[in-house]
């Protein structure tokens, strides 16, 4: 495994562990200040501004979501959502100076209220080098069932 691939793979695994552990605030810090978190709603969605998305969240909205998930009276988090993510098929799609675009496939198992559900799709991370490590400039999530009828999605994917 090349040095870069190993480096970004370790980053994605670390990110998945933070999310599995609901360590939202550490996860939020993985983003650049202007970083975006985007899950398109359709396969051919042209942009996030003139079309609704499952998620299109800047730092402000990510922060609100993280805060809400920990609210005592978040009724739909009684009990909280438990999840386990597997990230694989990691590939460096492009690498220029200090920006690298990484594609991967994820599989996520969620459990809440006696129900298991399976989510999965592709991640595309645009990572920017910052000091010793990496920061997320854009995390794009393409759920395979994004055009279907949804049950609620509450945590970060």
């Amino acid at each position: 495994m090349s040095g870069l691939l190993a480096e970004v793979s370790a980053f994605l695994f670390h990110e998945a562990r933070l999310l599995d552990a609901r360590r939202w605030h550490e996860w939020l810090e993985l983003f650049t200040p202007d970083g975006m978190y985007w899950a398109p709603l359709t396969h051919d969605q042209p942009d996030p501004v003139n079309h609704v998305s499952l998620f299109y969240e800047d730092a402000l909205l990510r922060d609100v979501r993280a805060r809400r998930l920990e609210e005592r009276r978040a009724w739909s988090q009684q009990p909280v959502t438990q999840a386990a993510r597997i990230v694989g098929n990691i590939i460096v799609l492009s690498a220029q100076d200090d920006v690298v675009v990484v594609g991967s496939t994820f599989h996520m198992l969620e459990w809440r209220r006696q129900e298991h559900r399976m989510l999965g799709g592709q991640y595309t991370h645009t990572l920017r080098r910052s000091g010793e490590g990496w920061r997320i400039a854009l995390k794009r999530i393409d759920l395979i069932n994004r055009e279907g009828v949804q049950d609620t999605l509450e945590t970060f994917l």
Binding site: L41, T42, N50, H51, V52, V64, R68, V149, D151, T152
Partner: protein, 434 residues
């Protein structure tokens, strides 16, 4: 169950029996007597701009689609081939081409449903097969009509016309469209589809339930407030936080809103009109003034509404250009579709704001809707226990004030729920709809 035999006793002026939400036999009767009779929203004209474009919908249990014919006419047809029954169109939205061609044996139909051709035609010579017999064409939904581009259809051959059915709630559709400088709206920006594991009436009642926001949505209100506090002091609250935080207004705020219920179960809750000062609204108002003049613009903007209810199929939010479409699937399962609309002639930022509103407040992945869906689920589950037989609609009961075509009350009143059940009882007691 005997409840279906005794429907009259299930709905009282200030309470309803739990079985109206939980009894599968009553759900069956609703399919026939409400959805078999009422005008049900199919879709908006703008979703099928070109010949051959179609949009699928459900009227009760019936899978139907509206399709644009080459002459521009819109036809609402059952999604069933007259040959051996195959569904004809597959996607929620699509284009059928010049003719609707069945994927099974290739019969093809005009966009008005009429039979166009069958392969190997000679085999039918001398049989009872007859092109002119409507049995060999796609069946049309008995009645269809549109109001300012909003297409409705009814499975009943007879009944009042669409405008009569809409009654006073027409003003909400009017205001929705009047807010466009060109007086027209169009569907744009995609559609969220979400499951609710609860009875369809629970959602309808919630749409004008002013005593739930501060309780159900405490988590997102608190999160938005904490976030605002963390921002540099003194700035205005960002729109994205404002629309979440608004649910936290105190009871006095909600009680001052206007609540109006019309015949047939329709209603709306008003909003308090504060002249907007944000740049998006100001730019929008300029385009309205250019189109309508100052006086008419003020008239249009004075009408400020939160959710309107067009019972039993949809709910427009006129000031943020949303439309929620409600499809009962089973007694404990409801499909909700959430559409955004563009106001024709308004600045692009107005539409982009509608997109933000849908994402942040109305979507299945928002911070707001999951708590709604959770409490609907809990209500549906709790109603199935033996812990009680009745659902209370007592808030401000007996104090509704009659107006032409309906009633009005203070904002916290449970008038909308009582009003829906008044219509429900009328539909359900009038026998089979068709």
């Amino acid at each position: 169950m005997d409840a279906a035999q005794d429907l009259a006793g299930l709905v009282q002026p200030d309470r309803v029996h739990k079985s109206v939400y939980t009894d599968p036999a009553i759900f069956e009767l609703e399919m026939a007597r409400i959805f078999g009779r009422a005008w049900v929203y199919v879709g908006h004209d703008s979703q099928i701009p070109n010949a051959g474009d179609y949009h699928q919908a459900l009227i009760g249990r019936e899978s139907v689609f509206m399709v644009r014919a080459p002459d521009g006419a819109v036809h609402v047809l059952f999604n069933r081939c007259p040959h051996k029954g195959s569904k004809l169109v597959a996607f929620p939205d699509g284009n059928a081409g010049k003719f609707l061609r069945c994927p099974f044996h290739g019969w093809s139909f005009r966009c008005d449903g009429g039979l166009h051709s069958v392969p190997a035609r000679a085999g039918y010579d001398g049989t009872a097969f007859d092109e002119a017999n409507p049995d060999f064409s796609i069946r049309r939904v008995p009645r269809q009509a549109s109001y300012r581009g909003f297409v409705f259809a009814s499975l009943a051959a007879d009944g009042e016309d669409l405008e009569m059915f809409l009654g006073g709630i027409r003003t909400s559709i009017d205001n929705f469209c009047d807010r466009a400088p060109q007086g027209e709206v169009e569907v744009a920006g995609g559609v969220f589809r979400v499951w609710q594991h609860s009875n369809w009436k629970i959602f309808f009642e919630n749409l004008n339930d002013t005593s739930h926001p501060m309780v159900t949505h405490e988590s997102s209100v608190n999160a938005a407030r904490a976030e605002y506090k963390s921002l540099p002091a003194g700035g205005p609250m960002p729109f994205k936080l404002h629309i979440i935080e608004g649910n936290g207004e105190p009871y006095e705020f909600w009680d001052k809103l206007e609540m109006v219920g019309y015949d047939r179960g329709h209603s709306f809750m008003g909003a308090i009109f504060k002249p907007p000062t944000d740049p998006v609204s100001l730019a929008h108002i300029e385009t309205l003034k250019a189109a309508y003049g100052e006086a008419r613009t003020q008239e249009i903007l004075q009408i400020q509404r939160h959710n309107s209810i067009i019972y039993p199929s949809c709910s427009p939010h006129t000031s943020f250009q949303q439309l929620r479409v409600i499809r009962p699937i089973a007694v404990d399962r409801t499909l909700v579709e959430i559409y955004t609309f563009r106001l024709k002639g308004a600045p692009p930022e107005v539409f982009q704001r509608a997109v933000v509103y849908a994402n942040v407040v109305n979507s299945p992945s928002s911070n707001v809707m999951p708590d709604d869906i959770e409490v609907y689920n809990r209500a549906h589950e709790g109603l199935q226990t033996d812990g009680g037989d009745w659902v209370s609609l007592h808030r401000d009961a007996g104090r509704d004030r009659a107006i032409p075509g309906g009633f009005t009350a203070n904002g916290l009143s449970e008038l909308p729920m009582r009003n829906q059940f008044r219509a429900w009882a009328e539909y359900m007691s009038a026998g089979e709809g068709r």
